[in-house]
């Protein structure tokens, strides 16, 4: 199926998800050439609409757009209607009046991308680059892409993640990365485990196809994961009694040197960045040979190129015909 928007990792059925991962392989090929540019989106205008600061995600999208030859506008909307700044509706209508083909939106409110896509305020494709504590689907795609490449190498094409065991650790309750990964990993056939203190799980996870663990060590020894994904601990959790101290969190749910010994020989160490070294992940883990942190960054560009290609190039071909 061809999507109009990418709002949730749940929008992707297995075939579509694998197709995007396969396109990303092609894009990775482009990204390793001397001239890293394709003419695919020439004449298309893509707006990076960021209501929330995120330099990493923004430059990753920007690079992907430029490598596909799109015209790129960066729109850092300061504040939102939450803070009585510019409203989502006015911003969207402004962009529509200027004529845009796609909007990449990052917003602090869960559901903002979905509201934008279904509002009638704007007609272009909407790509969710992170909405509040809801989802971050391109992150899940780049994580899946990274795992698939490491596990299957050159034979990745056409493959899912069937039977791959992934342990996601940290602030599950507030993590858009965890929600999108859960959905996409389920779709691709992986087995999902989540580890967190009880305060950082949703109260009701009955809708989630995953196993839940409080004890990190037991999870590692019983699951024997193929990949461990560490989530960033946000500063605002630290003074809200979710856990007593950073020291205790680090001791119980951090990937420290001792815990590295519980991992398998080739267990992947993943982190969406930016990392709090010494809190959820130790430097020895972050810099380990099995760490994929920098590959994830590089793969992010390939995945975002693939998503843009999927959403925008079909329409272009149709018009050209």
């Amino acid at each position: 199926m061809t999507l109009k928007h990418l709002l949730s990792a749940g929008d992707l059925d297995r075939d579509t998800a694998i197709a995007i991962l396969d396109i990303a392989e092609e894009m990775a090929g482009v990204n390793s050439r001397d001239i890293k540019k394709l003419p695919t989106l020439r004449g298309k205008t893509v707006v990076n609409l960021f209501f929330e600061d995120s330099t990493r995600t923004r430059i990753s999208f920007e690079l992907a757009e430029k490598r596909l030859s799109a015209d790129v506008i960066n729109f850092a909307a300061k504040g939102s209607s939450v803070s009585k700044g510019e409203s989502l509706k006015d911003t969207a209508q402004t962009l529509e009046a200027m004529g845009t083909d796609a909007v990449v939106i990052r917003h602090s409110a869960s559901g903002a991308a979905q509201v934008l896509a279904h509002s009638g305020w704007i007609n272009g494709a909407i790509i969710n680059a992170g909405d509040g504590t809801h989802e971050h689907p391109t992150q899940a795609l780049l994580d899946a892409f990274t795992m698939r490449r490491r596990l299957h190498g050159a034979a990745s094409h056409g493959k899912g993640l069937d039977g791959v065991k992934v342990v996601i650790v940290g602030d599950i309750l507030h993590s858009r990365v965890a929600r999108s990964n859960l959905l996409l990993l389920n779709t691709l056939g992986a087995e999902v485990h989540m580890v967190a203190p009880p305060t950082l799980f949703p109260v009701n996870t009955s809708n989630w196809n995953a196993s839940f663990h409080y004890d990190f060590d037991t999870a590692l020894t019983s699951v024997k994961p193929d990949a461990v994904m560490m989530l960033r601990v946000q500063g605002e959790r630290m003074n809200a009694s979710y856990f007593p101290t950073e020291r205790e969190y680090s001791r119980m749910w951090g990937l420290n040197g001792d815990r590295l010994g519980l991992l398998g020989e080739s267990t992947l160490i993943m982190h969406p960045g930016p990392m709090n070294r010494g809190l959820e992940i130790s430097s020895v883990a972050a810099d380990h040979k099995n760490s994929t942190v920098l590959e994830q960054v590089a793969n992010g560009v390939s995945i975002r190129m693939a998503v843009l290609y999927h959403l925008l190039s079909g329409e272009r071909n149709h018009q050209d015909d």
Partner: protein, 437 residues
């Protein structure tokens, strides 16, 4: 005002009768009344197939005036109420200025009288400015021309237990009642929707059931301790029903209300992130809806109250987190009551009359509302066509935050008679309100 002769109406008991109205009073109720029972020139209303109920009384309406006239005015809200079959509404205190002085409540009551579509009964704030710090002048409001008997900080919870205790005690002076918005504030900081499996999926901050239930448990015990009556606004959870059932069995003087939306809608609707479904307390689960419906039928819950909460488009046409809480309710309340109590087979029209008229009038101590349809009663009544099916579109409210749009609901208000005056005739709202005597 012309006199009225209603023929062949079905009373709540099921009996078919004529009703003669002269001036603002019912003068006769009986089978096949003489054609001149209401005078020779009376307007005749053919009520064949229509159910006659005492005029509906809402204990929980936000009319928004003074201060928020872009959402609703006392005039437009009164019209919406009449269209929904109401003859009295209690106007909640969270206006600007807040209804926390005799001056403001008298102004609200006067504007209601001028509008002439329903009795507008002001609710007084429990605390000054709804701030939860010190008691408002409850006695001054009670003794004002508005004769306030219901006090509420609705929208905010009177969460300080000492202040709540004092308020419960103090209003015994004039037989008043505290209507509590049960919401533990710390447990609901930043809350956006029911905390459950849907909030887990959507990444919206949860509003846990326990934040409502813990306050209700505390307040029924406080009411018992000081021998006061207490009213609980908009029950939304199955656990709250259990606590009220326990309290009543124990003999505690507690009454409870439920809104139409909590009887019909669930948090699954929030998956759309459409802010028309954002309301406080939030839409809950199907299990909660079923418990509330059963409790309304078995008497654990005393009344339906609308919590009609109009908001302008810009407060809903935005991302969920930025949107205001609240939804319309006046014009669908009778339909939801019919769905829950009649069409389900769970109860009868006597119960509908009780939960939408008799009981709220009793809780609010309104002597001239909620009276039975007998000779001598004030002529407040509503005639409903229970066989009608209507697709909800239009509303008379100034606002449009209507979660029922597009739904098909049973029953339609055909006539509303307010103190002998037809505010709604054949489904059409009167162009003008009742002339002031």
């Amino acid at each position: 005002m012309t006199n009225l002769l209603i023929q062949n109406a079905t009373l709540p008991s099921g009996e078919v009768a004529d009703i003669a109205i002269v001036g603002e009073k019912i003068v006769a109720v009986g089978k096949a009344l003489a054609a001149d029972s209401a005078g020779a020139d009376a307007t005749v209303i053919d009520a064949t197939g229509l159910v006659a109920l005492p005029g509906l009384v809402d204990l929980h309406t936000h009319l928004r005036e003074p201060g928020f006239e872009q959402s609703e005015t006392i005039y437009t809200g009164s019209q919406s109420a009449a269209a929904g079959g109401f003859t009295a509404v209690h106007a909640m205190a969270n206006t600007s200025p807040v209804q926390d002085t005799a001056g403001v409540v008298e102004q609200v009551q006067r504007l209601g009288q001028e509008a002439g579509y329903v009795d507008v009964v002001p609710v007084g704030a429990v605390t000054v400015g709804l701030e939860g710090m010190q008691l408002a002048e409850l006695g001054a409001m009670a003794n004002s021309r508005a004769r306030v008997r219901v006090f509420s900080d609705d929208g905010k919870c009177v969460h300080d237990p000492v202040l709540m205790r004092r308020a419960l005690e103090y209003v015994k002076t004039f037989g008043g009642v505290i209507a509590q918005h049960a919401q533990e504030p710390r447990l609901t900081e930043g809350a956006q929707m029911n905390e459950g499996k849907v909030s887990a999926d959507l990444g919206l901050t949860g509003w846990p059931a326990v934040a409502e239930e813990s306050i209700i448990a505390r307040d029924v015990l406080l009411a018992e301790h000081v021998g006061s009556r207490v009213h609980i606004c908009h029950l939304s959870t199955a656990g709250s029903v259990d606590i009220i059932r326990w309290a009543k069995a124990r003999g505690i003087n507690v009454t409870a209300e439920v809104t139409p939306h909590h009887l019909l809608l669930t948090d699954e609707l929030v998956r759309s992130y459409d802010a028309v479904y954002k309301v406080n307390p939030p839409l809950r689960t199907q299990e909660d809806v079923l418990a509330l419906r059963a409790a309304l039928a078995d008497g654990t819950i005393d009344i339906i109250a609308t919590d009609h909460a109009p908001h302008p488009a810009e407060s809903k046409d935005c991302e969920w987190q930025a949107a205001a809480f609240g939804m319309l309710g006046l014009e669908i309340a009778a339909s939801v009551a019919q769905d829950v109590l009649i069409d389900s087979g769970a109860s009868d029209w006597n119960r509908v009359a009780a939960v939408l008229s008799g009981n709220p009038a009793k809780i609010g101590l309104l002597e001239e509302q909620g009276q039975p349809l007998v000779a001598g009663s004030i002529a407040n009544l509503t005639l409903i066509d229970p066989k009608a099916k209507r697709v909800i579109e239009h509303s008379h409210s100034k606002s449009d935050n209507n979660p029922y749009r597009g739904l098909t609901l049973p029953g339609a208000v055909v006539h509303t008679i307010y103190r002998g005056y037809q505010t709604v005739t054949n489904g059409q709202l009167a162009e003008k309100g009742r002339p002031n005597a």
